[in-house]
């Protein structure tokens, strides 16, 4: 497996960005800060993998943040009552069922993806608030918290988890029949259908994957916070879209993949960390991320037009 030109450009952007920040804020280059950046990047990558696959099939999953809140709150509730295994299993099942519903609405009933998943976002968020009554659930046992805060040989555990997930998803994307089907459906749905691919089933699987991956990312996130509340992940969708799109996965579908998303997540993490170090308030970061998405997509569109000539 070799890196594509898009991915190489993105890596170059990442290094240039790091160099600029290092020059502007010397503190950026310290071991502790770089470790923080990598941990933030790992969380972002985990959040964005589901989004990557939904964009690859030419859709979008706007519900990831709300699904993280819902499955996170329910898991947190069960874990704090001492039901560890049940908590994790039910959390994953919640993610899977949200994804299943999205998949049915999109694949089988033909709703536009942004409509179906937007509805799911509202429903999951409402359920999360109903479940917790708006309160925060906190205080998990150290075993669970290790997922977010632990270290292996001085390196944060989330980094290893994100790397493991990236390898698994790359395998699925580039080496399995399902992966080929996902790219085919994203590139041209009609052609895919006539080649004998079950398009509806592929869409369903992708949205279920997105739901399960969100639930999983949610575990790491709440373990790191040592708390879960229904408002978590309000802006995860923006972050995930930004990381995915900057990583070279196109809104048109069929292009990009998990490797690009890892690079994109690192770029966003470096950007956020740098802005924090320079004392830029988080609200401005929201404005910036919105602009970065639009910029990245626009550059993509222009580049395609230029290549087309």
């Amino acid at each position: 497996m070799t890196l594509s030109r898009t991915e190489l450009t993105r890596i170059a952007v990442l290094f240039v960005l790091c160099a600029i920040l290092w020059w502007l804020v010397p503190h950026f280059g310290t071991f502790y800060n770089l470790r923080n950046v990598l941990r933030l990047g790992s969380l972002l990558a985990l959040l964005s993998f589901g989004m990557t696959f939904s964009l690859l099939v030419g859709g979008i999953d706007l519900s990831i943040g709300a699904v993280i809140a819902l499955s996170g709150c329910v898991t947190a509730g069960l874990i704090t009552q001492g039901h560890f295994a049940e908590g994790v299993i039910i959390g994953v099942l919640i993610g899977a069922s949200c994804g299943l519903l999205n998949g049915v609405l999109i694949g089988y009933l033909g709703l536009p993806p942004f409509v179906a998943t937007y509805g799911m976002m509202r429903i999951a968020r409402g359920l999360a608030f109903s479940y917790t009554g708006g309160y925060c659930i906190y205080g998990f046992d150290p075993g669970f918290r290790w997922l977010g805060t632990g270290f292996i040989a001085g390196i944060p555990a989330p980094i290893f988890i994100a790397l493991g997930m990236a390898v698994l998803l790359c395998f699925i994307a580039y080496r399995t029949v399902l992966g080929k089907e996902i790219y085919a459906v994203g590139a041209n749905r009609v052609t895919a259908k006539y080649t004998g691919i079950n398009v509806k089933k592929t869409l369903l699987i992708v949205y279920v994957m997105s739901g399960v991956l969100s639930a999983f990312a949610g575990f790491i996130y709440i373990a790191r916070l040592n708390a879960a509340e229904p408002i978590i992940g309000e802006f995860f969708v923006l972050d995930a879209v930004a990381a995915t799109v900057i990583g070279g996965t196109s809104f048109a579908g069929g292009e990009g993949g998990p490797i690009g998303t890892v690079i994109g997540a690192l770029i966003i993490a470096v950007l956020q960390n740098g802005l924090n170090l320079m004392g830029v308030p988080p609200q401005w970061q929201l404005v910036l991320i919105g602009s970065v998405i639009i910029l990245a997509v626009t550059v993509d569109m222009v580049a395609k037009k230029v290549e087309g000539f």
Binding site: I60, L105, L109, G110, L111, P112, F114, V115, A116, Y118, G119, M120, R122, I123, R125, G126, L127, F129, S130, G134, F235, L238, V241, F251, P281, Q283, W284, Q285, L286, V287, L288, I289, G290, S291, I293, I294, V297, T298, M301, V302
Partner: protein, 308 residues
């Protein structure tokens, strides 16, 4: 019924919902509650007009909720700082229209899918609203500004007059002007419209500006009603207005639907929200129920269209 056309289905649903809530709650059918629904419904209706127009041309405007917050906060802060009412209102409207213009440019010039462009501007507008308001309520709305909800024109409440006037205006615009006809043509078949000489980019861009501007007007009504401006006040309106438009018969494929349907759709959403409140349902379960109703409406619309 003939006037309502494709909106007759939702109109029946509206009547049934009203009947059910009248039976379920003794407070539903009263003058004060009617006024209440009108106040809440006007903001939604205005936003839905803009949303409806963008969907009609085959687009979507996801930024309306964030713009509602941003222009409200802008007007609120200017009034608090003692800027004259008219100027504060004008600046808020300009901010809202500018975001609309930005949406239009991104869709037409950068060729972005509308939901991506407006999703990006949604994040930007929401962030800006939070920055400007320092993440809190903006108090000190000029008492005279409350004219938008408490005032009367010819003995009728201002929100009612606004809703009716704009309803008639947009209906006339869509049905009786070349501009409206061309919007339908673009929604129906963009390439055909382009080939027959319609300047498609101009028309598509104009729709997003209208959507921004009318959302700005809605924000004036909203902050007058709440007597404060909250940066998050508008979040969720993008969903409700989308629902109002689609429930009212505007199709995502573009080129189908109209103002009477949007009015019925917005009324239905406003009545259901109000009725669930009266029945004592909590805010969060309500979000779930309304989400399910809306998804249900989308599914019904799909089946209806497939058969048609």
């Amino acid at each position: 019924m003939r006037v309502l056309g494709s909106a007759s289905g939702p109109a029946v649903a509206l009547v049934i919902a009203c009947l059910a809530f009248t039976i379920g709650s003794p407070d539903f059918l009263s003058v004060s509650n009617g006024v209440n629904i009108l106040m809440q419904g006007t903001v939604l209706l205005l936003v839905s007009f803009g949303m409806g127009l963008t969907i009609l041309t085959g687009g979507i405007d996801l930024s309306v909720g964030a713009v509602l917050g941003l222009s409200g906060v802008t007007m609120g802060i200017l009034m608090r700082e003692g800027v004259p009412l008219g100027l504060a209102f004008a600046v808020g409207m300009t901010v809202a229209s500018t975001i609309g213009l930005l949406n239009g440019i991104l869709v037409v010039k950068a060729n972005l899918p509308p939901f991506v462009a407006t999703f990006g501007t949604m994040g930007m507008a929401h962030g800006l609203a939070l920055v400007l308001s320092k993440e809190g309520s903006v108090w000190g709305i000029d008492p005279r500004f409350r004219w938008f909800v408490e005032g009367q024109i010819a003995g009728l409440p201002v929100p009612f007059v606004l809703a009716i006037t704009l309803g008639i205006f947009f209906w006339g615009l869509l049905r009786h002007t070349a501009y409206g006809m061309r919007l339908y043509a673009i929604g129906g078949n963009q390439e055909a419209a382009q080939a027959s000489g319609v300047p498609v980019p101009f028309y598509k861009c104009s729709v997003y500006i209208i959507s921004g501007a009318i959302t700005g007007l809605a924000s004036a009504v909203l902050i007058a009603r709440m007597n404060s401006a909250l940066p998050t006040a508008g979040l969720g309106y993008e969903w409700d207005s989308m629902a109002a438009a689609v429930v009212g018969g505007v199709a995502f494929e573009g080129g189908v639907g109209g103002i009477p349907g949007i009015i019925v759709g917005a009324a239905l959403i406003a009545v259901v929200r109000n009725g669930l409140n009266l029945l004592g349902m909590g805010m969060y379960p309500q979000v779930v129920v309304i989400g399910l109703i809306i998804i249900g409406a989308f599914i019904i619309e799909r089946f209806y269209r497939r058969k048609g």
